[in-house]
Subunit: 314 residues, 2 copies
């Protein structure tokens, strides 16, 4: 089997669908080991552009959000197999957006108003405000296969067969393993993110149109129950370069602990960097990482929010 | 104010207590800015030694667990202030232990039998099995202040005023901020850990007697509601040196997601490294990190367990 990088298939922007559904006909068939190139709209399906204002969030049609491109039928893939997805390359557009969408996000009840930030993505960086910039680490939030269960499944949540995993460490060079549930696996992807923190707390990353190339290989020798992956190398190589400021959320419930941690980090960004509460929440979503510090010291668990202080170095 | 590293106070092993309680008399008073050196037993209060067998876990007296050394009265500290704790130095013993304690830990229901691993800590490394070694990154699980509320509070959980935070990134060079609730702050610490993963999933780290030095400074200009801290530098510098293997737990509940992720990581360690299920669970506790990958794509959240593959490089 030859493994050249050159993709054998190019998937176009309009070749997308809005549900995980095993009845959606594949747009192409490839041999196991083939590379496939995708050209994808942003997660809003083109409803937001580099010139948009907050009106675009106020009028956003949620029924058209989180489309995925595909599906690709991989020859030889059968239920019980694993699809190995080598994430070869991600190329974001020259712009991106982050929004507060009413009703969506970890602190949705505290942020009822829509907000939108349009980013310029230049030379691998996204400037948020003077003196604050985020290094790009592009990936796709949506990577998944069709489920065995008949009928449409929303593209908003993730599932054991993938979907909206929004996992920031699935960058170029990583290899993802997903359980195959239907013949041909029926692979799709979408939701380009130029950068994101662990958690994606406001519900949006730096959303961007994306070009991506992946290699799809059927693994008969491996069985996984849910997504597993190997990272390209050290984690968060571009942000893990100096000290972090960290805020704890301590509670008997992990969700409440996470909310407390992000609230404390927002307060820190307000008091030390002069950001508005809305700006701070958006910056948390694209650059702050949520870790579970301890999950065993009953009755109180700790979720900690970590902010790389290197964002503020010029 | 002079800030020499030389500690002005030495706290001895026997100067410990078993509750957070503002009625416990301070063992010493120091000026703001003073350095204090602690010599501490392990979290079992000396019930486990380098020669112990699993019998020590079977007969463990839980009423003597998680003692903390202190308290230190810091002059000038008043309720509403912040105590700044510079973590200057941690020096573990030449041995440590990790245990499965029945009824304790993230998967307690699946691990009813006690187990004990005794580690030799040599030249900054702890060997788990031939070909598997963990780099030391020592810190104290317990760092806290006395609460305003009268009466004894267990040292097992963490609180807004600190306590059993079990936060692996509070290593030497980090600075911790805790809210002062009583005059003098009443600072104590304990629970030496030679290494731990984010989460401490089996409930024990590499537990070890520890010597530590901290500098305690009253901050009238800063107010925190719960623990906040700045790390010494990049996170997990000794383990974030190569690729990680990662397993997702996907569920509508973060606790269930964490349990799934650790179960999948245990299975990975069994199938690829030949560890027993009990060994794999202990290795997860000392070296695997739990991150919240996404917490917004309702109804399913993702907790991901990250294993540094550098543990297996010799």
């Amino acid at each position: 089997m030859t493994h050249s990088l050159a993709p054998t298939i190019h998937v176009a922007r309009e070749q997308s669908h809005l549900a995980w559904d095993n009845s959606i006909a594949p747009i192409a068939r490839v041999a196991s080991g083939a590379a496939v190139a995708f050209d994808m709209l942003d997660a809003a399906g083109g409803q937001i552009t580099a010139d948009s204002t907050v009106v675009a969030i106020e009028t956003l049609d949620f029924a058209r959000v989180d489309q995925v491109n595909g599906p690709i039928f991989v020859e030889g893939a059968e239920p019980g197999d694993t699809l190995q997805i080598e994430l070869l390359e991600f190329q974001p557009a020259a712009w991106g957006w982050t929004a507060l969408i009413p009703g969506f996000g970890l602190l949705a009840d505290e942020f009822p108003q829509p907000a939108l930030n349009i980013w310029s993505l230049v030379d691998g960086w996204a400037e948020f405000a003077p003196g604050i910039r985020v290094p790009l680490a592009p990936f796709c939030g949506e990577v998944g296969l069709a489920p065995a269960e008949a009928g449409p499944h929303s593209t908003i949540p993730p599932y054991r067969h993938g979907g909206n995993m929004d996992t920031r460490h699935l960058t170029a060079g990583a290899t993802l393993y997903l359980p195959v549930e239907v013949p041909g696996a029926l692979y799709s992807m979408g939701d380009g993110h130029a950068a994101q923190g662990d958690g994606e707390v406001c519900g949006t990353a730096i959303e961007t149109p994306m070009r991506a190339t992946v290699r799809l290989t059927v693994r008969k020798d491996l069985r996984v129950e849910a997504p597993e992956f190997q990272t390209a190398g050290p984690l968060a190589a571009r942000t893990n370069v100096g000290s972090f400021y960290a805020a704890d959320g301590i509670a008997p419930d992990l969700m409440e602990a996470a909310r407390k941690a992000i609230r404390a980090m927002i307060a820190y960004l307000q008091r030390t960097r002069g950001l508005s509460r809305e700006q701070a929440y958006m910056l948390c979503s694209v650059a702050v990482d949520l870790k579970i510090s301890e999950i065993v010291d009953a009755p109180n668990w700790i979720v900690t929010a970590y902010l790389p202080l290197s964002l503020f170095e010029r």
